[in-house]
Amino acid sequence: MNFDLKIWRQAEGKTKGNFQTVDARDIPSEASFLEMLDIVNDRMSESGEVPVAFDHDCREGICGSCSLTINGIPQGPGRGTACQLYMRKFRDGDTIYIEPFRVGAFPVVKDLVVNRSAFDRVIAAGGFISERCGNAQDANDTPIPKTVVDYAMDAAACIGCGACAAACPNGSAMLFVSAKIGHLGLLPQGKPEANRRVRGMVAKMDAEGFGNCSNFYECAAVCPAGVPAAFIAKMNRDYALASVRNAVEATA
């Protein structure tokens, strides 16, 4: 297959970027999108041109390193990450625009590579259960209904890629943040810190410069892990309750 690629090139965060046109010929239809980029990079290297930088690692759709916007869609068309997108999904001769994720809170590092450390800082602001490793109670001491744990797992499946924020017109990270709050808050082990967690993480999310949610649900549409947007509503409820409780406790 042949493609007309428009690839975003940017030497570093501070410099200006632009699209480079690349004529990608004889690409096997069974190649994944990233393997197509490998082929393009190999050819660039052979002709003495510096290859395109892009983040990738497991290539199984689970590590969340992929951060490509393909034809305007974070992680590209179809469900799943860019590494799980295969060239047979495109038509021969297609023009394909390849850009990094476009979110203010994810500055470009180089070419298609962005800095998503804001997500790590949001998790560090409460996305955990404080417990010491050692002698936890037996794992079966607290039964958890299957339906609850299955729903928690729907949220826990988040791969932290950031496509949600990249797809949102407001650059909101609410799907990502609500997934962690939902996952931990649904489980009995996560309840003691639930109020602290939601307040801490939401405050950090705002401080990192992510926007607010205005119910476009573009996030859930592109989420490679299929995290339901319902978790955002749950987080808003949790946040409101936690704020009220906090205010009451402050006056008590």
């Binding site: 030497a11 570093e12 069974e30 190649a31 994944s32 393997e35 490998d38 190999d42 290297s45 052979e46 041109e49 290859p51 930088a53 983040d55 990738h56 690692d57 497991c58 290539r59 199984e60 759709g61 689970i62 590590c63 969340g64 390193s65 799980q84 295969y86 047979r88 590092v109 590579v113 998503r116 450390s117 790590d120 998790i123 560090a124 602001a125 996305g127 955990f128 259960i129 417990e131 010491r132 490793c133 002698n135 936890a136 109670q137 037996d138 794992a139 079966n140 607290t142 039964p143 958890i144 209904p145 299957k146 744990v149 797992m153 826990a156 499946a157 932290g160 931990l184 082990q189 996560g190």
Partner: protein, 641 residues
């Protein structure tokens, strides 16, 4: 031959009491003194991440490094099937002893008995710990934890979270780690790659890293260095490992004097999606858990291979694992299943492009349990398979073929998980001790978390307690020298400006290893490969082309350094395979097999751990043997028939 002898420091007493005896006698660092120590941890997978979290929790100052942009992306995340633990929640006869026996036998009697017993003992705590930190393991309707079976075991002891167990365990570790980062006890350095180990007075006291964004070469000092940098499966180019997985951290430690143990023990996983073309960058695993319900077969006759599945009558199908190993059937261990698949393909009975594939068929399971049950158990795996191959496995069998997946070999460690270099500890896949010549499914996650959460935090005390206050300053000449060497190497890689890409070298050694040091190995082949590696190394250093600069994000440069190490390391793998004149586990020497084609072990001459010592570039390494001693187990021929 070197005269160095190895002391594995196995505690005294009966097997079942060793760990308790060790803990009772080990040295402690008092709570007030822990903050006076600096620890370096390289890698944030299950082993490194959990160790960093625990050490942070205990009050040590931890510096943690990973090459990914976030610790949450370490390759442990890709493990699908599950984690073993001797909980016996199923009341099916499991116990610590049973898990221990299965692991020793699965490893074909080449692991260290005391380490494996300890692993089985702490396995039960791991599940408790993970549930406490919010890992959403699968449960039954009554709210109790669910289990499934895995290869090489006749009990159900595997805990799982859909087909994403590794992800959930790693995210649990990552959340604990994040907690410690916010508490200020762990300082995280993502996008940093360790390029050298620094020794001060013969002890590991620091590392040299490259900041992968700015290219800056940095020195970091500590009281002890912990490597949790994973395995070296990517030496084969095509493997199920993430693209960035590499041997550099452990290989650089080896060059500084740490011994590399059993490098030829690599695991070829039986159920991966077959290779489809030259451009392919990696292979995708289909979880072993699928073998609970999938039946593996090929046509009995060669001429049927090209036919459609429906055209091949039941009687014309050869369910070769069920036929050869009736008591374990499709759940025979990985090495045996892989070799059997290779055999039938070598006979010309393979299916799919190039005849390199066997069927994994769910038709019977769907008939018996219904499609919804199968969908619930393996839905995401079927989806993944469809996405990659374009085929619907609910209707037609999956095609699978073995692929490199895990490496049992690693840096040599004693019972305390300390290498022969004092102050250098090695945990998780990066060390060698627990899986012998073959790892059982769902045991890698178990070992990673056991080492990080429950073993190293106890065993490091004996080293740390007496060395308080010895963390060197990075302006010492040892650091300066190591930094200069690293800078020189980077400069050299960039200055060759040859004609071949880094990947072309990687592909070349990958194919060489797969052909000569893969599922079947021979004396002639290995000798040829060892010579070939010399040529490849020479050509690499005179003809590789690395574009771009050193002081920027430069993926070709990162890869070049890793491939340079893989080239040297691949040769070491072949040396090890050549030395071991027997077949055991994943190491199958064609000269040593039974008339039925099973592995023929030689306990008389090879009941030892091969620990290799670096003797200079291009020189043959020295072999140091750690004789194995078993008290609790009778050596037996491994049989799954």
């Amino acid at each position: 031959m070197s005269t160095t002898t190895l002391d594995p420091k196995i505690p005294s007493g009966p097997l079942a009491d060793k760990w308790a005896n060790f803990k009772a006698a080990s040295k402690l660092v008092s709570p007030g003194n822990k903050r006076r120590y600096e620890l370096i941890i390289v890698g944030t997978g299950l082993a490194g991440g959990s160790a960093a979290a625990v050490f942070g929790e205990q009050g040590y100052n931890v510096k943690c490094f990973c090459y990914q942009d976030s610790p949450r992306r370490a390759h442990s995340i890709a493990a699908q099937g599950g984690i073993n633990a001797a909980k016996n929640y199923q009341n099916d006869g499991d116990s610590v002893d049973r898990l221990f026996m299965d692991t020793i036998k699965g490893g074909d009697f080449r692991s260290r008995e005391s380490n494996v017993y300890r692993l089985a003992q702490v396995s039960t705590h791991i599940i408790d710990q993970c549930v406490a930190q919010g890992v959403p393991f699968a449960r039954e309707y009554g709210g109790m934890l669910a289990n499934r079976s895995f290869g090489g075991a006749q009990v159900s002891r595997t805990f799982y979270a859909r087909g994403q167990t590794g992800q959930q365990l790693l995210l649990g570790v990552y959340s604990e780690l994040s907690h410690q980062i916010s508490a200020g006890t762990v300082k995280m350095h993502p996008r940093h790659e360790m390029l050298d180990l620094v020794l001060v007075d013969g002890q590991a006291k620091g590392i040299i890293t490259r900041n992968m964004v700015t290219g800056e070469i940095e020195a970091h000092a500590a009281d002890a260095v912990i490597l949790a940098s994973g395995g070296y499966g990517n030496a084969f180019f095509l493997s199920t490992n993430a693209m960035g997985c590499n041997v550099t951290a452990t290989y650089r430690a080896y060059r500084r004097g740490a011994l590399f143990a059993n490098p030829c023990f690599t695991q070829i996983h039986p159920t991966c999606i077959p290779v489809s073309g030259e451009y392919q960058s990696k292979l995708t695993l289909m979880s072993e858990s699928l073998r609970n319900d999938g039946r593996i077969w090929v046509p009995k006759r060669r001429e049927d291979c090209g036919k459609k599945v429906v055209e091949i009558a039941e009687d014309d199908r050869d369910y070769f694992l069920e036929r050869k190993y009736p008591s374990y059937g499709n759940l025979a261990p990985r090495d045996i299943s892989s070799r059997s698949a290779k055999e039938v393909c070598d006979e010309g009975r393979g299916v799919g492009p190039g005849g390199l594939g066997v069927y994994m068929d769910f038709a019977d399971a769907i008939k018996r349990l219904g499609e919804p049950t199968i969908r619930e158990r393996y839905g995401n795996l079927f989806e993944m398979y469809k996405n990659i191959t374009g085929e619907n496995a609910y209707e037609t069998p999956m095609r699978i073929y073995p692929a490199v997946h895990y490496t049992m070999g690693g840096l040599w460690v004693d019972y305390e998980l300390q290498s022969n270099v004092p102050g250098l500890f090695v945990i998780g896949e990066a060390n060698f001790s627990d899986h012998g010549a073959n790892r059982l499914g769902a045991s890698a996650l178990m070992q990673g978390l056991a080492d990080g959460y429950f073993v190293l935090p106890y065993t490091i005390g004996n080293y740390l307690a007496p060395v308080r206050g010895t963390c060197p300053r990075v302006d010492r000449p040892e650091f300066k020298r190591a930094m200069d060497e690293v800078k020189e190497r980077v400069k050299r890689l960039l200055s060759i400006k040859g004609t071949r890409t880094v990947d072309s070298f990687h592909r070349e050694i990958g194919k060489l290893l797969w052909d000569e040091c893969g599922m079947a190995r021979s004396k002639e082949g290995l000798e040829m490969a060892i010579k070939k590696f010399d040529q490849i190394r020479e050509e690499f250093w005179s003809n590789v082309c690395v574009l771009g600069e050193g002081d920027e994000l430069n993926a070709s440069l990162e890869k070049a350094g890793r491939v340079a190490d893989f080239i040297e390391f691949g040769q070491l793998m072949c040396e090890d395979a050549l030395d071991r004149n027997e077949s055991c586990g994943g190491h199958f020497r064609v000269e040593y097999q039974t008339p039925e084609g099973e592995a023929l072990r030689n306990d008389e001459d090879y009941f030892y751990v091969s620990a290799w010592q670096y003797t200079g570039e291009g020189n043959k390494p020295d072999l140091i043997k750690e004789p194995l001693e078993y008290d609790g187990v009778e050596l037996a021929t491994r049989s799954y028939k």
